[in-house]
């Protein structure tokens, strides 16, 4: 479904991503894990067109995204919940959701909003509230809900558990599983390796811009290297 081949991303002279290749198959949950600064967010931003790779290719459902402008990518069926959520803080909850459906026909928006509220009843209670006044957990739900509004085939999530209490992390991961069961393929970036590996079909481990290890979630959770580096044991 998504096939990333040999991408190289630079910030000025900093070579942040070095010859990275990975794949996501339809119906999978794939996770990219790695320490701070490993390059996880950079990879997601490159896939969604906010950053560009020097060379390589990014194939998604038979089309090459590497030269498609960022604003045309969501319509291809690929949604991205960015690091730090980046919801529109001065707009209402519902307007944020409406922006998520920017590329879709108006006639389908209400149905999609109802679907988001089904997964996140708390957003429904707060639909007229200004997004900047939501709690951190609610903001994360809004960021995910907003991405769902585009009806993505592949949903990319960048550290959805960041800054949340363990109960909320559990809640967010339950929703990720729900979305997956309803047919959405998921590419999950996490620092919370334990959590991520426990839901993932497959995982890639990133270190200083390079993929150093790959395997199924179950394999990696048992691997000594991973235990030492990421699972505190």
């Amino acid at each position: 479904m998504l096939k990333v081949n040999n991408i190289n991303v630079y910030y000025g002279s900093i070579h942040a991503i070095k010859d990275v290749s990975f794949e996501v198959h339809p119906g999978e949950i794939v996770t990219l894990i790695g320490a701070n600064g490993a390059g996880k967010s950079t990879i997601l931003q490159t896939v969604s067109g906010l950053l560009r790779s020097k060379g390589g290719s990014i194939e998604f459902l038979d089309s090459d995204l590497s030269s498609v402008p960022a604003h045309k990518i969501v319509a291809e069926g690929l949604a991205h919940v960015p690091e730090g959520r980046r919801i529109f803080l001065q707009m209402t909850v519902e307007d944020n959701l409406i922006m998520g459906a920017y590329t879709r026909p108006n006639s389908e928006i209400n149905e999609s909003i109802a679907n988001v509220y089904k997964h996140f009843p708390r957003l429904k209670e707060r639909r007229k509230q200004i997004a900047g006044t939501l709690s951190g957990g609610e903001q994360q739900m809004l960021a995910m809900g907003r991405a769902m509004m585009s009806k993505p085939k592949l949903l990319m999530l960048d550290e959805p558990s960041m800054g949340l209490s363990p109960i909320l992390v559990q809640e967010i991961f339950d929703i990720i599983k729900e979305l997956h069961e309803s047919g959405t393929t998921i590419l999950l970036v996490e620092q919370n390796a334990q959590m991520a590996l426990s839901v993932a079909d497959r995982a890639y481990v990133l270190e200083s811009g390079k993929i150093v290890l790959t395997g199924t979630g179950a394999e990696l959770i048992e691997s000594d290297e991973i235990k030492k580096a990421y699972l505190g044991g």
């Binding site: 960022a70 604003h71 919801i87």
Partner: protein, 294 residues
Amino acid sequence: MLTFLNHFINGISLGSIYAIIALGYTMVYGIAKMLNFAHGDVIMVGAYVCFFAVSTYNLPPIVGVLLAIVICTLLGVIIEGLAYKPLRQATSLAVLITAIGVSYFLQNAAQLLWTSNPKIFPNMFGGASIKLFGGELIIPVGTLVTIAACIVIMIGLTLFTNMTKMGKAMRACSEDKGAAQLMGINVNRTISVTFAIGAALAAIAGVLLCSAYPSLVPTTGSMPGIKAFTAAVFGGIGSIPGALLGGILLGIIEIFAGAYISTQLSNAIVFLVLILVLLIKPTGLLGKQIREKV
């Protein structure tokens, strides 16, 4: 008492013009995060277009206004596309200097095309006026039209930015361009549309301004431009209600300072008030600051 009322109405009318100009500054600043110093000069171009349409070609005033709007809108989009768009990734200082350059370019081009001899702007409202209190208070129709235009524009823009998809997309872009792109919003096109709206408003402001102060020269737009920019900052740059409030207050302060303190000092007083407001409330009267939760 009647003189006071008269000054008050004149203040609101002048303030309405500032508010309409300030809206252009504030909307462009909100989305492109730049001070479009050429905005004042678009006003001047609008006034010249209307002048030639009405005085030289004897077209009806409304056609003159519409022509001014169309030409300024195009001009706004062209300026953005040629001068500012290539600088999207540049430092804000480079953009500011370019904007000042565009401003001088427009003034010099106007001088070359139309000379610096003042043109006497035609009276768009046929000199009609309304007499109140047994003829003691005379309000020109132009004054009322100016205030009405400001109210209509204000309501229209508020509805546009809050209710329409394009308007919401503009607000999304002004908050976070990257996130807006992830939603599928074409940021470049949205910025162009914002410039188009700002320039159309500048054309209207130019016609209203020159109807009230009929001497038209290539630098006609620069002082009102700077004052409207002041009004936008005063009200809280980026805020639409702020532009209205800032513009009206500025107009009232200017007229009253001129009438009761000193005509020569009225501009100085206007800027003094701005400095005081910014010392007390750095974001301007209605400027808001929402902090991100982590």
